[in-house]
């Protein structure tokens, strides 16, 4: 497997940090009536990873982005948006995964 950080083989032969998590990048396609229409996401390759042993586990770290969607009716509530933006667009928040971190494994 190629080092996931490009310079590894050349000038710093340091192992991965003890609790790093392998991840895969993907994207969500929200279609033509949403801005942005394609959004990058990061998923943990598998939850239980070797370099993040129990009681820890690799978990996706969530970040909430703001998106604009075409309005269907006035009933739809919009988050704060620029005064000048046409009323036909509604602002919403969308939680996405932007990382994969080694953290406590909660049994909730």
């Amino acid at each position: 497997k190629r080092g996931n950080i490009k310079v590894e083989e050349y000038n710093q032969a340091i192992p991965d940090p003890p609790c790093s998590c392998e991840y895969k990048k993907g994207f969500i396609n929200l279609g033509e009536n949403v801005f942005p229409s394609n959004i990058e996401t990061i998923n943990c390759s598998t939850n239980q990873q070797q370099s993040c042993p129990p009681p820890y586990i690799c978990k996706e770290s969530i970040y909430e982005i703001k998106i604009l969607r075409k309005r269907k009716s006035m009933a739809e509530k919009s988050l704060a948006r620029p005064t000048d933006l046409e009323i036909g667009w509604v602002a919403e928040s969308l939680p996405i995964s932007v990382g994969c971190i080694c953290t406590r494994d909660y049994v909730i």
Binding site: P18, P53, P54, P55, Y63, E64, R71, S73, M74, L79, A80, P82, T83, D84, I87, G88, S93, P95, I108
Partner: protein, 275 residues
């Protein structure tokens, strides 16, 4: 040949109104008509736009004799917030500038019946006059009134003052997981030139929330659905600058019912840690 409907608009439009707006290019007047007649679709159920477009400019206007009808409450480089005498009818409030570039529009707001405040976007160093009108059920403006002038924006206040922010909590402290804690923030306003605010709030586990606070001498905001044992931050942005207020939500430990609820039998996990 006559393009029938457009001309109809023309003949009934009262000339007197035109003189007051005569300096405004037709494109901007028509863009206002279209934008209002389009957006009313979202405000009025079973609404037909034809009358709105045809008769938009068909009523007289007068110059307001009552200066308090419309008051400039707050200004920033890009906006002005106005207080308008509330009315039982829907109201149109607009800013008419001295000149327009083709891509610029007449900035306007629609107030539902009883609405008092509207925030309109402005361009720096442009002088505006406020016009208001009431809207019939078909969206046709009447009682056009040429109201106050908007003074040129003097820039942000040069002196920075810290807002004295206070927080109180209410909600359900009984269980650490199902908590619905609300935080109520209040702070002082430094006077009539300090009535509008923007707040930004977030906690470690709670994403950013942002809200515009309409003009008030007793500014306050309530943030809902917080949890116990959280570290949070509220930033208040006002005429005298930004003030950051860091705080912690109540701890489960301080509430008997929360501690009792959480004394579940504790099965130890086999904790093994190897670097």
């Amino acid at each position: 040949a006559i393009f029938f409907s457009v001309c109809v608009t023309a003949t009934v439009v009262s000339g007197r109104k035109v003189k007051a707006m005569s300096h405004v290019p037709v494109l901007q007047l028509e863009k206002l008509t279209n934008s209002v007649c389009t957006n009313l679709y979202f405000y009025i159920s079973e609404y037909s736009s034809t009358n709105c477009t045809n008769y938009f400019w068909s009523n007289d206007y007068k110059v307001s004799s009552d200066p308090s009808a419309v008051q400039v409450k707050c200004q920033t480089a890009g906006s002005v917030t106005l207080e308008v005498g509330p009315s039982r009818h829907r109201q149109l409030i607009m800013l008419v500038a001295e000149h327009y570039k083709p891509h610029e529009e007449i900035s306007y707001g629609l107030l539902q019946p009883g609405g008092k405040y509207v925030k309109l976007s402005t361009l720096a160093s442009v002088k505006y006059t406020v016009w208001t009108a009431q809207l019939s059920d078909e969206g046709i403006p009447y009682k056009w009134t040429k109201a106050t002038n908007v003074p040129l924006y003097k820039g942000p206040s040069s002196i920075h003052k810290n807002y004295d922010i206070k927080v109180t909590f209410n909600g359900n402290f009984s269980n650490v997981f199902t908590n619905v804690i609300n935080a109520i923030f209040t702070w002082d306003s430094f006077g009539d030139d300090d009535l509008c605010f923007e707040i930004v709030h977030f906690c470690r586990e709670i994403p950013l929330y942002n809200e515009y606070i309409w003009p008030t001498t007793k500014p306050n905001v309530t943030i809902e659905n917080l949890n116990l044992d959280e570290e949070c931050e509220l930033t208040v942005m006002g005429a005298y600058g930004n003030t950051k207020f860091q705080y912690e939500t109540p701890s489960c430990a301080e509430h008997k019912e929360c501690v009792l609820n959480n004394l579940k039998p504790q099965e130890p996990k086999n904790v093994s840690l190897h670097a």
